[in-house]
Amino acid sequence: MPFTRRTFLRTGATTAATVAVASVVPRPLLAHLGRVPEPVPPIQDTRLKELTQRALDAAKRAGAVYADVRLTHLRMRIVQGDPRDIESMTVGVRALVNGYWGFATSPIWSFDEMERLSRESVHQAKTNILGRVRDVDLAPLPAVATGHWDMPVEIDPFSIHPDEISDYLKSLMTFTMARVQEVKFSAEQITAASISTIRETAFASTDGSFCTQRQYLSAGDFNFTMRNPVTYQSDSHHLELLLPAAMGWELFKRQPLRDEIEQRIAETVEFTNLPQAPVDVGRYNIAIDASSMSRVLSSTIGAATELDRALGYEANASGTSYLNDPTEMLGTYKIGNPFLNVTANRTEPKGAATVRWDDEGVAPTDYTIVNGGVLSEFSATREGAGWLKDYYNKTNTPRIPRGCAHGGRDILGGTYAPVVCTPNLAITPGNSPRNFDDCIRELGNGIAFRRMQFNMDFQQLNGLATGKAYEIKNGKRTAAIGGLGLLFRAPELWRSLSGLGGAESAQRFGMTTSKGEPPQMAFHSVTAVPAMFKDVTIVDVMRKA
C-alpha cells in the first residue's frame, strides 16, 4: 500500500478525511486521574503507572492469568497547504484466561474506566473457553521492561511552525516546477504533504513491566508528473527519501530532497528520449534498483516469515505463507542462494518499525531471517514463540521473543491488539562496491528495472512485478520498454540471485503494511541494495491470455 495522506487517514475517522480545511491542535485533552479532570500529563507521570496498575489489578481479580494495558497518546500534524492537527487518547487492556485472549479499548483514561476495561477484557476471554483446550505458552521476557525512552530525533516536528512547513513544501514544489520547465517538460500535478506523529505510550503487564516511550514517525507525500511535450509521454514520481521513517523534521530539512528531484527529472528525460523497444517475452538476466529490491524483500521474505501467517492465523485475512511448515523448514529450507543474508531488527536508528519496547513490553533484539540462503528465524510475538516449542526443544535453542508485537500504528493506535508486524529488514550487501549502474554494466545484455511494484498472491509465493524497464545492450540503457513485467515464484527468484550491490549502494525505504481483522496498519523500513538475477521470466503484463 503506498503511503499517502489518504491511507493514513483511511484507517481513522472519515471525518478526518472528508474535511478539507485546516486545523491546529485542540490542546489540552483531559485525563481523569484525580478528583477533577486535568490536561494529559507527560507519559512518564507516576500517576499513569497507578492508572495502569489499577487495570492490571482489576484484570487479575477478575481471573486473568496474564494481562497488559497500553495507554496511547497520539499527536499527528498533516500539512498540505493548511495544517491539520489530530490528537487522540486511547487505552487498551488485554487479558489471558485459560489460553483465551480478551481485549477492550476506549478513549477514556480514568481509574473507573480501567476497571471496566479490565472486567470487559476478562469477560471477553472467558466467553470463549467453552470446555475446549487452548494452550498459550508466553515466551519469557528477556528482561522486565522498565523505564522511559525518548526516540532520538534531530528536530521535533512540532517545534516547527506549520507555516514554515507549508512554505518549505511550497519551495520544493516551486523548485520542481522550475527544474521540470528547464528541461522543457511540462510539470503536472505537483502535490506535497508532510505528516508528522508523536506517539507516547505507557505499557504495563502483570509480568511486572512498566515502560513508557515517546516515538516519532514522519513521512512526506511529494508527487509530480512530467510530460514530454513531443512524445506526450508522462512519467510520475513519488519521492522515496520521504517514505515513512522514525525521524523528525530532519526528514525534510536535512535530506538531499532537491538532489532526488533532480535525479528523477534526469531519469524521466533519459527514459522518454530513449527509443521505445517492443516487449519481447522470454528469459533474461536482469538488474533491479535498490527500491525494487526493498519491495521484493518485504513482500516475499518479510511477509512470508511472519509466524502467524505461516501457521494460518491470518488465513482469513492477509493470507498464509509459502513457508508453511516452520518447524521442519527452520534451519533447513533453502530460501535463496548461499549469498543471500537477511537480518531483521526493531532497533536501527530511523527505522520505521524501531521501538525501545514492543507492544508486549519486549525489548527487541536483532536476528537473522535468512542465513547463507537458509531460513533461520520467523518473526513472532511472545505467544508465537510458544508455537515453535517443538523446534526450540529439538534444537536446544532458547526461546527469545524478538519484539515483533505491534498494536496498529494509526490515529487509533491504542485500539488494536498486538499482532506480528514486519520488523525493519536489511539485506547484507555484496562484497564488491557495485551500484545500480555497475550492475547494468556487468549485466552486459538484459533488462534493468527501476522502482518495481509487486503483485503477490496470498501466500507471498507467486508474483508479478512491473516497473520502469530498460533494454540493456553492452552494459548501456539502449531502449525503454513499456508494459514489461517479471513473473516469478519467490524461492526460484531468490535462487537466481546472481549479484548484490555493495554497501555504498544501500538505501533505506519506509513501508506501510496492513494485516489482521480488523485491519491494522504498521510501518517498517527495508534497507536494500541493487541486485542482479539470472535467467528470469519476462512477460508482457498488458497482454491477456
Binding site: 472519515t14 483531559l30 487518547m89 486511547t90 477492550a104
Partner: protein, 485 residues
C-alpha cells in the same frame, strides 16, 4: 442503545450545545460527532484467538467566520477539551486567508429524504457470549473433519450526529437550509445510527492442499446464517483438495457473486479513493470513461450517454433499497451509474456542479451499489458449459491500466474445471489479467443478485454493501498458473 456503547441522541445534542456555547463572535459553528462500538471475535486453527470490545469517539468542531474555515479534531468530550477544540478551530479560521465569496456560498435548497432502516437490534444486542458459542459452532465441523478453520465475526454500531451547516455545505454534501429564525445549534442536529455485522471464514487442509472460504456482511445480523457459511467454506475446502494444473488461456467462467463483486470493486471502489466515475478526472482525459479529445471545442469528451457494457447490466444506488442503506452525510438522491449498459452518471461535487452545471447538488460516489442480474442459477450455468472454470473469488487485484481498468490478481479459495456441464476436478489457482469492463461485455448468463461480503473494514460509521449476481462470461483471461493454495 443507551448502555453507553455508542452516544445517544441526547448525549450528542449535549455535546453540540456545549460546543455552541463555547463559540465566540459571529460566524457559523458546526459539529460532527461519531461514536463507534465494535464487538469482535477472531479465530484460527479452530480456536478463538482474540475476542474484543472496542469503542471510540470522534468530534470535529468547525468554525466558519467570514468565509474562512477552521476545524479541530478530538476524541475527548469533556468541557475543557471541547472548548479547546472550538478555540483551535477559530484560530485556524482567523489564520486562513480570506476567500472571495463564490457560488458555493449560496444557500442550499431543502432536501428531505427518509432515513432508511440501517439499524438492527439483532446486531447490536449480540453479546460476547453469542459470538463465543457461535464461533465454537462454526469451527466444529472443520475440526471433526481434521481441517483448520480461521475466521472473523464482527458486530458493530456507530452513531453519527451533524449540526450546523459548516463545511458539509461547503463541500456540498449533506444539505440543510438555514432556518428562517435563529435556532439553537442542537435543534437542527441530525442524528443517525447504524449497525454492521460480518461473518467470514477460511477452512484449510492442515497440509495446505485445499482451501475454502465463505462470508457475508449485512447491517442485520439476522440475515447472516453462520451455519450455512461454515458448511460452504468446509465443502469448498474439501472439494478443492489436491488440485491439478491446467493450461492458462481463455476460458468460459462461472463466477460466484463474490468473484463478480471482487472484480466490480475495481469499477466501484468501496473506499475513499478516486473512483473511475470521477467526472472531473474523465474530463481531464483519465480513466475508462474518456471518449477522446474534441479539438474543435478544446475539451475531452466522456462516454456519458454511450453504451459501455452489456445492456442487461444496471448499476445503481437507491436510498430506499433495504439492502443498501445510505452513507451519513452524503446526498441521498438515487443515482444510476450504468443504466442497461449505458453510462448515465459520472460523479461530481458541488465545487464542480455549481460553476459547470448550474446545479446546487453534487452526485457523489456511494460506497455501496446494486447490480442487476437474471434468473439463471449457478447449477444451470455449469450445466450449459462444455468447458470452463468455476471461480469462488479473486484476491490481490491491482489495476495495471487505468484507461481500460485492466488488472492483475489471482483466484483464491477454490477453482474448478467444468467439463460437459459438470464440475470434474479442482484445479490450481491462476493469475488473471482482465478488466471488469471486458468481462461485463462478454456476459452469457446472469444469476439473481444477492448481498455479498463487503464490510466496511475500518471504524467509519458508514456501510459498503453490494448486491451482485453470479454470472457466466466467455473468454476470461487466465495468464499463468500459480501454486499457492
Amino acid at each position: 442503545m443507551s448502555d453507553g456503547r455508542i452516544l445517544s441522541r441526547e448525549q450528542c445534542a449535549d455535546i453540540v450545545k456545549r460546543v455552541a456555547g463555547f463559540s465566540r463572535g459571529d460566524g457559523e459553528t458546526s459539529v460532527s460527532i461519531q461514536s463507534a462500538w465494535n464487538g469482535e471475535l477472531r479465530w484460527a486453527r479452530n480456536r478463538t484467538s482474540l475476542a474484543s470490545d472496542r469503542r471510540n469517539i470522534f468530534v470535529i468542531v468547525k468554525r466558519r467566520i467570514k468565509q474562512k474555515n477552521g476545524d479541530a479534531f478530538t476524541n475527548q468530550i469533556d468541557d475543557v477539551s471541547l472548548e479547546a477544540a472550538v478555540r483551535s478551530a477559530e484560530r485556524v479560521a482567523l489564520r486562513e486567508p480570506r476567500r472571495e465569496p463564490t457560488d458555493l456560498d449560496i444557500d442550499l435548497p431543502v432536501f428531505e429524504y427518509p432515513v432508511p432502516t440501517i439499524w438492527s437490534n439483532a446486531t447490536f444486542d449480540a453479546t460476547a457470549e453469542t459470538r463465543g458459542s457461535l464461533a465454537q459452532m462454526l469451527t466444529q465441523d472443520a475440526e471433526t473433519r481434521s481441517m483448520l478453520s480461521a475466521g472473523y465475526l464482527e458486530m458493530r454500531a456507530a452513531a453519527f450526529a451533524e449540526a450546523g451547516n459548516g463545511s458539509d455545505a461547503y463541500q456540498g454534501m449533506a444539505a440543510r437550509p438555514k432556518p428562517a429564525t435563529p435556532e439553537p445549534l442542537e435543534a437542527g442536529m441530525q442524528y443517525g445510527a447504524l449497525t454492521q455485522g460480518q461473518c467470514s471464514m477460511t477452512v484449510r487442509h492442515p497440509k495446505g492442499t485445499g482451501s475454502g472460504w465463505a462470508g457475508l456482511s449485512s447491517f442485520d445480523w439476522n440475515t447472516i446464517d453462520g451455519a450455512t457459511l461454515a458448511r460452504r467454506a468446509l465443502e469448498k475446502c474439501l472439494s478443492s483438495l489436491n488440485p491439478v494444473r491446467i493450461e492458462p488461456g481463455r476460458y468460459t467462467v462461472v463466477l460466484d457473486p463474490q468473484a463478480v463483486g471482487d472484480l466490480v470493486d475495481l469499477l466501484m471502489p468501496p473506499s475513499d479513493g478516486t473512483s473511475p466515475f470521477e467526472r472531473s478526472e474523465a474530463e481531464r482525459g483519465k480513466g475508462p470513461f474518456v471518449l477522446g479529445p474534441d479539438p474543435m471545442l478544446g475539451i475531452v469528451r466522456t462516454k456519458l450517454g454511450l453504451k459501455v457494457i452489456d445492456d442487461r447490466i444496471t448499476i445503481e444506488h437507491n436510498y430506499t433499497d433495504p439492502q443498501l442503506g445510505v452513507v451519513p452525510g452524503l446526498g441521498r438522491h438515487p443515482i444510476t451509474w450504468i443504466d442497461k449498459g449505458v453510462l448515465r452518471t459520472l460523479n461530481y461535487d458541488r465545487q464542480y456542479s455549481a460553476p459547470n452545471l448550474n446545479e446546487t447538488v453534487g452526485a457523489f460516489m456511494r460506497p455501496s451499489y446494486r447490480m442487476s442480474g437474471g434468473t439463471t442459477t449457478i447449477e444451470e450455468m455449469i450445466a450449459s458449459t462444455p468447458r470452463g472454470l468455476l471461480v469462488s473469488r479473486f484476491s490481490n487485484l491491482n489495476v495495471l491500466d487505468e484507461g481500460s481498468l485492466l488488472a492483475t490478481g489471482v483466484t483464491r479459495d477454490g477453482l474448478w474445471l467444468i467439463e460437459n456441464g459438470k464440475i470434474t476436478k479442482a484445479v490450481n489457482n491462476m493469475r488473471i489479467t482482465e478488466s471488469p469492463l471486458f468481462v461485463l461485455n462478454q456476459i452469457e448468463e446472469l444469476g439473481v443478485p444477492v448481498p455479498i461480503f463487503r464490510p466496511e473494514k475500518y471504524v467509519l460509521p458508514r456501510l459498503t454493501p453490494a448486491v451482485v449476481p453470479s454470472l457466466k462470461a466467455r473468454d476470461f483471461s487466465f495468464t499463468s498458473t500459480i501454486d499457492a493454495v
